[in-house]
Amino acid sequence: MSVEGVVDRLFRRSARQLVAAIARALGPGHITLAEEVVQDALVKALETWPYRGVPANPRGWLYRVALNRGLDVLRRDAVLRDRLLRLPATDTIDAAVADPDPFADDELAMIFMCSHPVLTPDARVALTLKVAAGFSVDEIAAAFLAEPATIAQRIVRAKRMLVQRGIEFEIPDPIDARDRLESVLEALYLMFNEGYDARGGPRAVREELCLEAIRLGELLVRRREVRTPEVHALLSLMCLQASRLPARYDANGDLILLGDQDRGRWDRNLIARGMRHLSEASTGDRLTAYHVEAAIAAAHALAPDDRSTDWSYILGLYDRLLLVAPSPVVELNRAVAVAHVQGPAQAIDALLPLLEYPAMRRYYLLPALLGAFHDELGNVPQAVHWYEAALKLPCNDAERRYLERKRAAALAR
């Protein structure tokens, strides 16, 4: 095997898979210990591999070193507390290491535990990112635009909660899986959106959030008991949206809107995966918001250019989405379709009632769209008014520059 093949991207992925595998071996109360011994094993690799070279089975090596260290700590603990421990037999370890993807089930069990309904949605995402996805506290804080200390505390509390409630580290029974699955999907979608809604933070990390949510979702569909149309629908949605990641920013890091993106830069592979998941998603009898949103994303993905987008079909999908999952944000997105199908004046009429929602008044996209539609109608003063209103609300640098450009262009007319 080539050296690049061995070491390339081995570590972050190995680190999180190993934490899951070790936590499963040591018991659900020992996530923190699992994190520590995996870090120890990685450092041991750092110290010895430069001299001895990369071992034949690097992940197996890391797993053994981490597990042995974890068992040592627990044995010492067990002696102190005089408590009996169930420790895995060596042959289980060998079997696990021999398996080509030995940690998939452990990761899955970890996802279910991190997304347990006893945790708040915020805590679920933070814990999933930290423990199941291997992001650092600083990276999670950057993605959430939160203080690292806040995130660290959230994670500590979530771990404590899991221990106190005696949450088991396991893939739930098929009977429970369905209820539990919803909260898992929620966490994955939140994770995806943290990466996708460019609210700030390093771009590379944000894109990795998106890809990690997809990877974890694809672990789910490998297991029959959790392979539901809903999971495929969410995966389809995430793949199709992520396919646009390479085209969303220009060389200066400025945002490029969907209509202006170079569709040649969309990731064909992700589009194909998204379409495959969409066809798997259509096998059930339940239409979820994920299904409809995936269908909308597919309509965009399949249009060769902006002009050939089937906006009336998309508008129909938004109408259905409003029935399945009504929300002012959906109405806002629907207004974009209205503008394409019926015209900007009708879109403005659709948007104005949304100003009644207090939360929407803090959302820069609402005035930004009102500005854009007035712009289209040639109402320069109103356009400028709304662009300025949008600029007063929280948004990231790329969005701010975009709004400033639009305002300057309107004023120049």
Binding site: V3, E4, V6, V7, D8, R9, L10, F11, R12, S14, A15, Q39, D40, L42, V43, A45, L46, E47, T48, W49, P50, Y51, R52, G53, V54, G134, S136
Partner: protein, 120 residues
């Protein structure tokens, strides 16, 4: 072709910073070492390498027919031997060339010693 011992010394403080080092940083460092060693392996120039255990070793000396054993060397003040490689090289010039892009030089020093081979 002769064999050369490449001794790596460093401050022996790896493990102190170890808790803070991220998987990506570890990966980055290891892949540099790998680029280096893979090149040597492919050219048949790298024969072996071992990491020595951290912590002090034992110093032996004989006085008046008695062997004295001391713990040490103590790593607090000076560099310690972290590990070594055995290289196959034509001569010192070649060995220096092989060692000069070893990533260890970012963290410590290297010493090259030719292994004496007496043709029998």
């Amino acid at each position: 072709m002769a064999r050369f011992l490449l001794v790596a010394r460093d401050a022996g403080d790896w493990s102190e910073a170890a808790g803070d080092i991220s998987p990506e940083q570890i990966e980055a460092i290891l892949s540099r070492y790998n680029t280096w060693s893979e090149k040597l392996v492919k050219a048949g120039k790298l024969e072996a390498g071992e990491k020595l255990a951290d912590g002090e070793g034992r110093q032996l000396s004989a006085q008046n027919g008695l062997v004295r054993v001391l713990d040490g060397p103590h790593s607090a003040s000076k560099e310690v031997v972290g590990g070594f490689w055995i290289l196959n090289a034509d001569d010192y010039e070649d060995a220096v060339k092989l060692a000069s892009d070893c990533p260890h030089l970012e963290f410590g020093t290297l010493e090259i010693r030719k292994i004496e081979e007496i043709p029998a």
